[in-house]
Amino acid sequence: MIEFSKVKKVYPNGTVALDNVSFYVGDAEFAFIVGASGAGKSTIAKLLLREEKVTAGQLVVNEMHLNDMPDRVVPYYRRQIGMVFQDFRLFPNKTVYENVAFAMQVVGEPARNIRRRVPALLDVVGLSDKLKRFPDELSGGEQQRVALARALANNPKVIIADEPTGNIDPQMSMEIMNLLVKINKNNNKTVLVVTHEKALVDYFQKRVITLSEGHIIGDRIGGMFE
């Protein structure tokens, strides 16, 4: 459950990235977030991860008020969220395998489970032959898929994917989006996908939240890219 109420976000340099943004995404719901470049989509993702704090308004995720969450709780909160960052944020000094495994080590997953699950995840995103590569030995799309695998590693309750197919060909994009839809349906996870790929949004006929210059200008279920 994600609830934005009258959220405003002003960056230190004075940019108003979001203003009076309110929306509600229920448990196990799937939503696209679309909008022009600079509309505030990534800002929503950053607020949800508490990478940034709201300037005004309320933000509640799974009954937790992010505004007044104590610092020491934040790591535990973040583990409930699987995030695909727009700029990937892979560890340059860790291999593909280690990048995904690290997310599981963080939550204290036993080594046995890690050894089983990581290769399976990397297989799903089509990287099972590149486990030992370092990120700078991967193509752009391959890096993006490692980021996706890492986001899914801990079976998070909420998955937020910021442009998860920005560097990926149409066929693989479709596969990835199908995967996210499947996770949403079968495992009852809440999934938010930021994307600019009209074809995908139109194809899946899911809820579409449209942002423009920090405001919500559209929120339709079974919507199309506009």
Partner: protein, 295 residues
């Protein structure tokens, strides 16, 4: 918490060390350099003090004895003095010894001593060697209390000069050692700070995927400790070999300086290097990490 194991952290620490090869090397280089200088200077200071101790130990007080004392009385006085605090040795110089030694010193004036041959004007004396120059006044007082001693002679100006000299040397070298230590600590911690700064993005990502502060910190601290210990080991080996080389050079060339045997310094060096390496690595990492540890 389920599977956090020390083995995991140790492995991560080693991996970090290896994968950040350049930074690790640079940190080890700086730490090693600082420790080498520190070690060189502290063994130097130790040797200076050691040699100054040797200078100090020639300080003596001469007590002149009443001429009418018998041999037994002199022996008694001697035992009496030997039993005092701060006295390490008492040597008896008879009238004849004194006359001969003076005669030798003034060999230019043979006619003078010829006249004195049968009328030796010198007195017998006891030369008292003391341990601690600071307690000489007490010793002087105690010596004056003894019957049979009619005069004591103590060149307090020379003694004070030597003491001043020793104190100044010790003062200056200790202060310089402290300066060196502080600057080294500063440089080392600064270097670790830089090394961690260069990995702030990595730390940021860890935080964004839900790692707790201690989970992030432990491998970095282990890495820091490893860097510290490696540096300590290298610096020790370097200082050791340099010391042995200098020892062999000085041992053969400069006769009037005593070089402390390395074995006497070894454990001080090993200990302080290990402690400094360990603490700098650990504390340096800890301090540097603080900055990146807001949620």
């Amino acid at each position: 918490m389920r599977g956090y194991s020390f083995r995991y952290f140790l492995a991560e620490g080693f991996k970090g060390l290896w994968r950040n090869g350049f930074m690790s090397l640079a940190s080890v280089a700086v730490l090693t350099s600082c420790l080498i200088v520190l070690g060189a200077f502290s063994t130097l200071v130790a040797n200076i003090n050691f040699n100054l101790e040797l200078i100090g130990s020639v300080n003596q007080i001469v007590t002149f004895l009443e001429p009418e004392l018998t041999d037994e009385e002199i022996l008694a006085i001697r035992d009496n003095i030997l039993a005092m605090d701060n006295v390490s040795d008492v040597k008896y110089i008879s009238k004849e010894d004194a006359y001969n030694s003076e005669k030798e010193k003034y060999s230019e004036y043979p006619e003078l001593f010829a006249k004195l041959e049968n009328d030796n004007p010198y007195n017998a004396s006891l030369v008292v060697t003391y341990v601690n120059v600071d307690q000489v006044p007490t010793l002087q007082y105690n010596l004056n209390q003894i019957d049979g001693i009619y005069k004591i002679s103590y060149r307090s100006d020379i003694a004070a000069g030597i003491r001043n000299f020793k104190n100044t040397v010790i003062f200056v070298s200790l202060w310089f050692l402290i300066l060196l230590l502080l600057v080294s600590l500063f440089v080392i911690i600064n270097t670790i700070n830089i090394a961690i700064f260069s990995r702030r993005q990595e730390i940021g990502i860890m935080r964004y995927i839900g790692a707790t502060n201690w989970f992030i910190s432990v491998p970095f601290i282990i890495e820091g400790v490893l860097i510290g210990l490696i540096s300590a080991a290298i610096a020790f080996v370097v200082d050791w070999n340099v010391y042995r080389y200098i020892e062999s050079v000085i041992g053969s060339d400069i006769k009037f300086i005593m070089v402390m045997p390395f074995s006497q310094l070894m454990w001080m060096l090993v200990g302080s290097f290990a402690v400094i390496g360990f603490l700098c690595g650990a504390i340096g990492s800890l301090i540097s990490l603080q900055r990146y540890m807001k949620a």
